[in-house]
């Protein structure tokens, strides 16, 4: 009986939560360092093709994106399901690529302009026709360094 009573009396000391903010801050800093800001809302859906020999794109600030894919379901009523090109935040046609590249180039300082990269994020079910048109426009805009975005797999 005596033993039982003793156990009942002893209440556990509360766990100190004083270091909880520090732990959370640590996680916060980890995320702040490893991630980048989401810069645009996607209006197209794509699934990148797989490849094994991919290279990382080094400097994010030098990369401009061209998205090609099927419009998202909310937009399909208006724009249909044919693949569309998205530049910045709206659907565009191949004719707008010249202006887009010029705009992106203006954002960079002169030293970096030569190493500007265009990242083509395109759905794997797209036909090459639209991509060839985009490539022709990029050549015309003199944006020659491109990257075909693809997700890394170890083997097929």
């Amino acid at each position: 009986m005596a033993v039982m009573k003793k156990k009942g009396d002893k209440s556990l000391p509360p766990i100190s939560t004083a270091s909880l903010p520090d732990v959370i801050f640590m996680i916060l800093f980890f995320f702040m360092v490893t991630t980048t800001m989401r810069d645009q809302e996607l209006l197209v859906r794509y699934r990148l093709p797989d490849a094994t020999e991919v290279q990382k794109l080094e400097k994010k600030s030098l990369v401009s994106y061209i998205h090609i894919g099927v419009p998202i379901p909310q937009m399909q009523a208006k724009f249909g399901t044919a693949p569309k090109i998205q530049l910045n935040d709206s659907y565009k046609t191949t004719k707008d690529i010249l202006d887009f590249v010029a705009g992106e180039r203006d954002k960079l300082n002169e030293f970096d302009r030569a190493s500007m990269t265009i990242c083509l994020k395109s759905d794997e079910n797209t036909r090459m026709g639209i991509i060839a048109d985009v490539k022709q426009e990029l050549r015309r805009a003199n944006a020659l360094k491109i990257s075909y975005a693809s997700s890394k797999v170890l083997s097929y």
Partner: protein, 198 residues
């Protein structure tokens, strides 16, 4: 001295964790983590319309034509080919190990080494020409591009291994330049072929 006697009240730090949580959740929502990866290519510059283009003749032996049809069939060097065999075909084309007369010629080129010396290496003159139709699916196109890149990467790796004793990816910048000069990535991406419907 009544002010000195008064005890400074402790700031309650209980809500600090909540604030930090809020910030954390904000960053989780507003940022992305994925690193962009892809196959990097340099497009040829647009020819000047005012200057008449001199026809650059490429010897037939120096050209490997890879054609991807609309239905996803691959033709390399005049014969249909499985995607898995394409890499070896391309490698054989780049290396030409037995100096076959039907495979690309090599030109001895002097390459500057990082330590200042010269290195003479027979650089292959071969060009892989990748052609497709407008109906070719992007997936197959990337698969073919990937196989061709893999062929070049393997050749570069082997050369880097024999020259510097390291794989290409682990070399110094200067050494990488030497290998790139010895094995240039020559893939020409032509405009799609128009197939006439009869």
């Amino acid at each position: 001295m009544p002010i000195n006697k008064r005890k400074i009240q402790e700031i309650n730090a209980g809500s600090m964790a909540d604030i930090a949580f809020l910030l954390l959740i904000f960053f989780l929502v507003a940022t992305t983590m994925n690193v962009d990866t892809g196959l990097v290519r340099i497009l040829p510059p647009m020819p000047d319309p005012n200057v008449k283009q001199a026809d650059t003749d490429v010897k037939e032996r120096n050209l490997l034509l890879v054609f991807v049809s609309g239905s996803g069939n691959i033709m390399a060097g005049g014969q249909t080919m499985d995607i898995h065999l394409l890499k070896d075909k391309a490698k054989e084309f780049i290396l030409n190990p037995f100096d076959d007369e039907n495979l690309p010629e090599k030109v001895n080129t002097e390459i500057d080494m990082p330590d200042g010396s010269k290195w003479v290496y027979p650089v292959s003159q071969g060009i892989i020409s990748l052609q497709n139709t407008r109906e070719t699916s992007y997936k197959v196109y990337i698969m073919v591009q990937n196989e061709l890149t893999r062929a070049f990467n393997e050749v570069r790796d082997e050369l880097a291994m024999s020259k510097f004793g390291e794989k290409f990816a682990k070399l110094e910048e200067e050494q990488k330049k030497v290998i790139v000069k010895a094995v240039p990535l020559k893939i020409s991406e032509a405009e799609p072929r128009k197939i006439l419907k009869k």
